[in-house]
Amino acid sequence: MELLTSSPPAIRAVDLTKSFGEVKALTGVSFEVPAGTVLGLLGPNGAGKTTAVRILTTLLRPDSGRAEVLGRDVTDDAMTTRASIGLAGQYAAVDDNLTARENLRLVGRLTHLPWADIVRRADALLERFDLLDADDRLVRTFSGGMRRRLDLAAALVHQPPVLFLDEPTTGLDPQGRTELWSFIEELVDAGTTLLLTTQYLEEADRLADRIVVIDRGTVIAEGTASELKARLGATIIEVAFDDPDAARRAASRLHRVGELAVDGKEVRVNVADGAHAMLEAVRVLDAERLEPRTMALREPTLDDVFLTLTGHAADDEKESA
C-alpha cells in the first residue's frame, strides 16, 4: 500500500472558526492528518475538540475556514464525506431497544451496502468485538464497555477509510479502556486514518503518531509525544520525604541542582543532565543527612507538558469556558 507523494492528507482543517453566540468555540484551528496515521487532538473539556470533529464530520458548518476529508471539502460534498467516514462519539449512540446485531444491520442499511454484505459485516464485527455471546440481546442490557465496543463497531460497518473517535474511552473503567485501545490499534494497523480526541494524556501518548494540543479554541502545540516532552528540555528528579519539613529543608539545598517545585512532602527538580544531576542531588542530601523515602529520575509526561503549555492541568475543567 504505497502512497503517492502528491496525495492530499486524509483530513485537513484550515483556519476553522466557530462561535456559539458569545462563546468562541474555535478561533482558527488548523491541522492535517496524513493518510494511514493517527492524530490525537488533546485538550481539556470545552477546548473545542468536539466542535472541530463535528465540523469535519459534516454535523456542523464552520463560520469560516475549510474542512477537508480525502481532499474534498466536507461542506460542498457532504454525502461523499459521510460515505467515507466513521464516527463514534462520547455517548455510545446505539439503539437501546435493538439487539447488537440489529444495530449493526441498521447502520449497514443506512449506508446502502448490499444485504449479503450487511449480514456478513455485522457477524464479523460482532465476533471481532467480543459481542457474539450477546449478539441477540437488547442493548439496554449491555454494560458501558459493551456499548462502547458496539458503538465503535457501528462506525466500522461500511469500512470507512477515515475514522473519527471523540473521546472513545471517557467514562470507561481501566480494563474497558485497555480493551478499546487494542481494538483501535488494530484498526490503525489495518490502514485506517484516525482522528482521536481525548483528555487523557496517556491515551494520546499510546495511540497517536502526532498530537495537536488545543486549548480555548486554538492550537497551542503540535508534535509527536516525544517532541512535546522535549519542549520541556528537561528530565525530572522526584524526591519524596516522610514529612513536609524535610521536603522544605531538601528544597533549600537542591535549588542549585535545578529549577524546583515543592508539593507537600515531594520535591520536583527540572534538570538538564539527568544522571549527573542525580549524583549531585544524592551528595547534597547525604551531606545534610536527609533520607528520602523515594527518589526517582523520570521523563516528563504529557501532564507536565500540558501544565507548562497552558498554565493549568489537563483535567482542570472549570478553567475553560
Binding site: 464530520t57 459534516t58 454535523l59 454525502m79 461523499t80 459521510r82 460515505a83 467515507s84 467516514i85 464516527l87 462519539g89 462520547q90 455517548y91 455510545a92 449512540a93 446505539v94 439503539d95 437501546d96 431497544n97 435493538l98 440489529e102 441498521l106 447502520v107 442499511r109 443506512l110 449506508t111 446502502h112 451496502l113 464479523a124 464485527l125 465476533e127 471481532r128 437488547l138 457501528a154 466500522l156 461500511h158 469500512q159 470507512p160 477509510p161 475514522l163 488494530e186 484498526l187 494497523d189 489495518a190 490502514g191 485506517t192 486514518t193
Partner: protein, 268 residues
Amino acid sequence: MTATATTLAAPAVTAGRPNAVTDALTIAWRNLLNIRRNPQLLVFATIQPVIFVLMFRYVFGGAISTPGIPYVDYLMPGIFVQTVVFGALTTGVGLAEDLQKGLIERFRSLPMARSAVLLGRTIADLVRNIFVVALMVVVGLLVGWNPGADLVSVVAGLGMVLGFAYALSWVFAIVGLSVRDSETAQAASFPILAPLVFASSAFVPVASMPGWLQAFARHQPVSVVVNATRALTLDGASASQVLSAAAWIVGIVAVFAPLAVARYRRAV
C-alpha cells in the same frame, strides 16, 4: 492477511446513493421494532382513551344533549380524534429521546437522505396509530357504538382520523427537535393540545359553549376533523365537511413537514 485484519481493513468508499424512500422505510422498521420491544407504552397509550370512553359514555354522557343521535354515536368519533391527537406527542417524545441519546447525531453522520429520520418516524407512528384506532373501534363497539353509515364511509372516517394523526406528527416532530429532552417535549406539548381537544366538538356540541368560545371551537382543526369523521360514520357527510378536513390535513403537512426537516438539519 489474517481474518481479523480483513474484518477491520479499510478499503475504498463503497456506500451508494441515498434513496429517501428506502432510508425512511429502514428508519420506520427500526422505530416499529422499538414499539414492539416496549409494548407497555402502547398499552399506556390506550388506557387513557378507554377511561375517557367509559367516563363520557356512562358518567357525563347522560347530561350532554345531542339531539337526534345517541350520545355514544356522537362520542366515538371525538374519542378517535382525541386519541390520536394526544398520541401525536409520541412523535416528539421519540425524537427528543433520539436526540438525547446521540442517535440523531449518528444518523446525520451517515450518507442517508436528510428526510429519512422524520419520514421514517412519522410512518412508524402512523402504523402505531392504525393499531390504536383499531383497538378503540373495538372498545366503541363494546360500549354500544353503532355507526349508521356503510362500511366504506366508516373506513373513510377512520382514514380521516389517521390522516390528521399523521399531519400532527410533523407538528410535534418540531417540538421534539426543539427541546432537549423527552420530559420537556411532553410538558411543552400538553398546553397546545388540551385547548384544541377540549374546546372542540369532540365531546360536547359547540352550541353549548359560551359565544366567545364558539367562534374558536367551531373552526379549529380538531372540530373540523371530528365533524367530518362523525358525519362520515353517521352517513350524513357533506362534501364541504370532508373537503375542509382534508384541507387542514394537507395544509398542516405542507407547512410543518418542510419546517421539521429544516429543523432536523440544524438539530443537535
